[in-house]
Amino acid sequence: MKNPVGWAGAFALALLGISDLHAQGTLDAVQKKGFVQCGVNTGLAGFSQPDSKGVWKGLDVDVCRAVAAAVFGDASKVRYTPLTAQQRFTALQSGEVDVLARNTTWTITRDTSLGLNFVGVNFYDGQGFMVPRKLNVKSAKQLNGATVCVQPGTTTELNLADYFRANRMTFKPVVIEKLEEVLNAYFAGRCDVFTTDVSGLVSVRGSRAPKPEEHIILPEVISKEPLGPAVRHGDDRWFDVVKWSLFAMIEAEEMRLSSKTIDQAAASKDPAVQRFIGATGDIGKMLALDNRWALNIVKQVGNYGESFDANLKPLGFERGINALWTQGGLMYAPPIR
């Protein structure tokens, strides 16, 4: 194309294409292509990881499956795009994936300037403490005077100092740069405590400890790393669909609806249950989905607790702050009505 008019025309067409996509929306696009394209971690045990048969499993993977169950009534209509940490935001921004469910921490920078919309939190991670069981420590508040193994340079070290100061305790830091060496130091008994994110503690205990059962993770979590699925800015309908797919899983656990009991729910007299399974009201219509959207999620994927128990519990994760709000945790879904 040599003439400027041609260029302008092509550019206009390209713009048209963009505005078209926005008018059409992700939900329509997803329904048209027949699957949800979901960005997941390339391999993080418990969150997203292909098993020996190459089937994706995990807490994040279940969010993808829940969205597919809500949109299509079929949790298997997902295609997974394994993404590295560097790729994940571009993949969402460029439209390569429809949902990013890849253990991503919700921060204001990512929510605003990176153009992401976090739909909620499916795992509250945060810095915790691991100690050998034989020390007989039950709470981080008992750690006064302890020797603590920590990696330098991250907020981990800072959080540790703040926590001990706030609780008027002292500690002796053993600061080692490399993960490998800091773990060796801890397992060799050079320090009483090892600290990093709870999910990291659980995974090193499972994979690196000579005897995993000899180490316990204390219940205190001293920093905020809320991990959640995200969608693109500027598409509210799709945002709603993904957000309520996650909420439906949490709400189902609170209502004691599980994949095993959901079929009996039709007989329930509880109006909230009736609304949830789509027997009354038009909740699904409001999301531009089938009224049985939530029923399909629970039936095919399960509620949040089931997903947690299937994926994270075998690795040694406790519910802790990821329990329902009714049980002292932070998992709380707004009412479905």
Binding site: A14, D51, S52, K53, G54, T81, T90, G95, E96
Partner: protein, 353 residues
């Protein structure tokens, strides 16, 4: 006895080296054999069999459990025969084309139909085969496809680049030099990152180039620059009089290049070319940083499984064996190619008489 004296104990340094190596082998081999063969756990669906106290052997059960995922990635489990067959066809195509007697025009036809067959097998969507999107391709076939297509496209491109670099047209020459030096000046990782992270941002919304295709393009562009320098080395080794003789015979530039210069230049550059091919085959494993499940990534992901973690030595020995088999085959073939009669010493007649 004489052979021993001549080869192993011909001088004092040689004798000492022989004894040192024998001693090392005697020290290292038995523990390795114990670990890898005698104490090893060969088959067990339960990782606890490998973790028993006192069991200091290799855990080949890890490979037995994970081999399907390692070889085929996230390809649908019950359809694994398709990538298996495709891998076999691809390997067959390479063996077939390595034999001189098949170097005919119809070799192209064989490759064409072979690749069509592989595409049908891998993608499906025809002849009753279920469609499998290429995001699910993985394992050995992905490594082989990336390497095969990489070499197949990069090699012709590299010849053009090498010729362009020696061209007398300044603009063309500068462009080729700029390209080669630019690509050689950056690491492959950054080229892959550009292709996988930056490129999608420049494309208009709604237009997306497949992730696998982007990685493949990056690999081709990268390999072409390196191969071009290997080819240029061959071109520079051709004596000037060859070109002048061809000119005197009245050959056109293309005729001269095709019939006189290239056949000799490429023969000379076989060792560096094969060197680059082998390096390139292993370089494809870098696609793991952009989330493609090639052979090395599937191994890494398998090791992430908490039930089976900690068997890294077994896993990486296995994957090294696979890489070694392919790389050694390549280098063995190149040695044969250099020695083969048609390529020895005397130049062939320049033109058919």
């Amino acid at each position: 006895m004489k052979w021993f004296r001549d080869n192993l104990f011909s001088s004092w340094p040689s004798a000492i080296a022989t004894i040192a190596i024998l001693w090392l082998a005697w020290k290292l081999a038995p523990p390795f054999v114990d670990w890898a063969l005698i104490d090893a756990v060969w088959r067990s669906p339960d990782p606890r069999a490998c973790r028993q106290p006192g069991g200091g052997g290799a855990c080949w059960a890890f490979i037995a459990e994970k081999h399907r995922f390692i070889l085929f990635g996230t390809y649908p489990f019950e359809q694994h025969w398709r990538p298996a067959l495709a891998t076999a066809i691809l390997i067959f195509l390479w063996i077939f084309s390595s034999m001189r007697k098949f170097w005919n025009w119809w070799l192209a036809a064989v490759w064409g139909s072979g690749l069509a067959l592989i595409a049908t097998l891998m993608w499906g969507g025809a002849f009753g085969l279920a469609y499998v999107e290429n995001e699910r391709w993985g394992g050995l076939i992905l490594t082989l496809l990336l390497a095969s297509f990489g070499v197949a496209f990069a090699f012709p491109l590299s010849i053009l680049l090498a010729l362009g670099r020696r061209s007398e047209m300044p603009l063309l020459r500068t462009a080729c030099i700029a390209y080669i030096e630019l690509i050689r000046g950056v690491p492959l990782i950054s080229v892959l990152f550009m292709a996988s992270v930056m490129l999608p941002l420049f494309l208009p919304a709604g237009v997306s180039i497949d992730k696998l295709l982007r990685a493949q393009l990056a690999l081709i562009l990268f390999a072409a620059a390196y191969l071009a320098e290997a080819v240029r080395g061959g071109l520079q080794a051709i004596p000037r009089h060859q070109e002048e003789t061809a000119d005197a015979l009245g050959l056109s530039w293309w005729g001269k290049t095709r019939l006189v210069i290239l056949p000799q230049a490429l023969r000379i550059s076989i060792p560096p070319l094969v060197n680059t091919f082998i390096g390139f085959f292993k370089d494809t494993s870098l696609v793991l940083i952009i989330g493609l499940f090639d052979l090395l990534s599937t191994i890494k992901v398998s090791l992430q499984d908490p039930a089976w973690s900690g068997f890294g030595v077994e896993a990486y020995l296995f994957v090294s064996a696979v890489y070694f088999a392919f790389c050694f085959a390549m280098s063995a073939y190149s040695r044969r190619l250099e020695r083969s009669p048609a390529h020895a010493g005397a130049p062939r007649p320049l033109v058919d008489s």
